[in-house]
Symmetry: C2
Subunit: 319 residues, 2 copies
Amino acid sequence: MESASAAEALIPLFKLEKVLDQDQAGRRITLLGTVSSENALLTLERAAFPSSLDTIAALQSTLTNVKNLGANDIYAWYLANIQPSVFAPDLKINLIYPCTPAHIKKYSPQVTRVVSETPSVYRDYVRPYMQRKREEGRLNWVYNIIEGRTEQEDIILRQSTDLGNDREGFLLLPDMNWDRKTMGSLRILGLVERRDLWSLRDLRRRDVGWLRRMMEKIEESVEKIYGVERDMLKLYVHYQPTYYHFHIHITTTSHDPSATQATLKAFSLPNLIAQLETLAPECDSLGDTSITYTIGEASELWAEVFGPLKERRLPESSK
Amino acid sequence: MESASAAEALIPLFKLEKVLDQDQAGRRITLLGTVSSENALLTLERAAFPSSLDTIAALQSTLTNVKNLGANDIYAWYLANIQPSVFAPDLKINLIYPCTPAHIKKYSPQVTRVVSETPSVYRDYVRPYMQRKREEGRLNWVYNIIEGRTEQEDIILRQSTDLGNDREGFLLLPDMNWDRKTMGSLRILGLVERRDLWSLRDLRRRDVGWLRRMMEKIEESVEKIYGVERDMLKLYVHYQPTYYHFHIHITTTSHDPSATQATLKAFSLPNLIAQLETLAPECDSLGDTSITYTIGEASELWAEVFGPLKERRLPESSK
């Protein structure tokens, strides 16, 4: 697609075949169809309202088909339409064309399962899976940042060995999903320098002091650089994470929480530290506890480990 | 508001004064204004898309002002408008009229704070606060259900003393926020019969067996009654909860997670059980750990406890 007008010309050519998925409380819909006989995915998403008073007033003046659904005392609720207006878009649209079967699978609805990972399931199946992922070289982009080869201009803070322990270094950089401007949706990524932590499973009782110092330093830095008060910052890690090098997600409480912050997926760092602090003596790390979390059926971990376990078959890593 | 047409007649009378709040990724906006010189709140919310193929095709045919924002390889993204159509509403609207200052406060944006509740802050300030709330009689509706006086027709399961222990009873009923039909948004409430558990803080190591049996029975019952596979069920509790009688929220993984499931607010039951199982010997309950969570600045707990603590003043309960 070379020009805006070429891209715009594709939209009327989209021939709808199937509603593939609908999410975000029904406000996003993904359609499968064709453009010039090739597969294409079209995603329609309700746009945000404009926020200026004048534009809202203009929008309000176009309300039509107002239909009352119910009323009780001082409360009433309705459905309505608005006239399209050039200064307030109704929709955001994404087009993928031509798209592959992999795209269609990615945008099809996926069943999410709750799995209970005991210490032995972790040791026998999940940790070997993590090791395979690490060996596939998927962490090169992380090492490139840590070793100073790429994205150095993005680094907000590099706290290297100067905490008196060469295993205490970490760095902060903007999350690639953040526009780096809107404070209400601030997202920062914290990457530790040490490479022996694959996930929260590797956090040990002896790491508590370091984790506390790191948390303190992250909050202090983000407060200083972005002016967000530290008691409005959320620090959490994912389990399962997308990649197996320990990293921390930092966002603010003014962010509407979504799936990425959901229980059974996001584990808050301060509560993990509290758990480590009150861990039974026979446990040395969070690898010695059961962890319950959600994963998609389309994930490799489901296909290779938890799907087979559910059917009482041996997972792949043990074959 | 006596009739639909009377309610509909109010909408054109709304005089916009101020944008009070905008959330849900910008797709909901709350407006403060007046109707006939009295305060009114108008909430505009982007409606869900229709899901039938024909309606989507009709909607697609009305796309106008398609403006390409960018393109890269097979990906392109746009803004656009659609023509209003009687079979697909663009908006949901709520009107509160006349509204009070309390309504305006409730719908104004609220700062959310992250607080760290140590065992001593819990013991000295938060538990006394909980006790005051319990004494205000706010739990009567819970006791009415447990003792069989109200909502008995709604009860899905009553597991009373027949588990061999008179402290093991609990019951399940649909959450009042669930329409009782849409399986994708299933929400069930689990209420324990015993009254000595105010919150997750009261869960003890000795409760592990009971909690596991209760979880098993809840999953089995919801699977049997609603046909939702048990590994698609999420069980979690809130801290702080809305009321101080221990209760469990049950929903499905097909539900888009929102703030009610967010980390630092929702604590998954299986992970709390795992934490209890690996708790250090000097701790008897989750009251002996630090818990970090989010609360709104407009909450009583912020006003009475955590706000004063932040400013190094004595919380109210100690005065």
